[in-house]
Subunit: 109 residues, 2 copies
DNA sequence: TAACTATATAATGATCTGATTATATAATCA
DNA sequence: TGATTATATAATCAGATCATTATATAGTTA
């Protein structure tokens, strides 16, 4: 029981960071590769990579390698409260659609 | 919009700590005074006091002074996802009932 | 094979955080 | 009023966290 609280606190801590919460909200719309997330968040690739590693270690996302790209998607079926949280975060859909992903460096083409 | 994500991340960060998440779960059962929380969590009074200050600053709890005691209760009506989270934390009700609150120092009598 | 692209890892450093110890404030009680 | 109880605040510190810079790995393409 105590262990479960600890585990939940760890998950909430992962969500309690602006960058990671935004990433999770983006992934709530659709699967994305690292370079898309980098483009969207206007931060460095290693920064995103480190955050993805934490999210993966926490079991919140899964990865799928395709060619030279690594696609991340949500893995939160077993944590209904995470879905509930993401449903309450302002959607990033419009922002995603408006942005021509990878327009600068033409990644993921 | 971005501001709202920031705000949500701040709230989730508050919940992303074992001590505070347990406090919130206790308060989800009923209003409690500081000394009861101290007794339950087996930690120091200043430690709880600091956490309560953070929770209050984050708008997650409200306080009510009665005599020399300060009672805290949840203030999450406007944050439905917080209630959703707390509903998924293992209940502390039995633990609360089992424990004779303040049995050692007879506080809150 | 060499150059290029996408991603991961490592090292570093500034900042933040949680807990402790000591002290202050404020209400109650004898 | 003085002692006691409940709570808050301040100072300190070790450890965690986030971002950056530099470098490594691995797949792709010319």
């Amino acid at each position: 029981m105590t262990i479960e609280i600890e585990r939940m606190a760890d998950i909430l801590k992962l969500l309690g960071d602006r960058t990671r919460l935004t990433i999770m909200t983006l992934l709530h719309e659709r699967e994305l590769c690292v370079c898309e997330i980098v483009d969207f968040l206007k931060t460095s690739q290693p920064n995103i990579s480190q955050h993805m590693r934490k999210l993966k270690a926490g079991g919140l996302v899964t990865e799928a390698k395709r060619g030279q790209w690594v696609y991340y998607s949500l893995n939160t079926q077993d944590k209904p409260y995470v879905g509930e949280i993401l449903r309450h975060v302002p959607s990033q859909r419009k922002a995603i659609e408006q942005q021509t992903i990878c327009e600068d460096n033409n990644c993921c083409i």
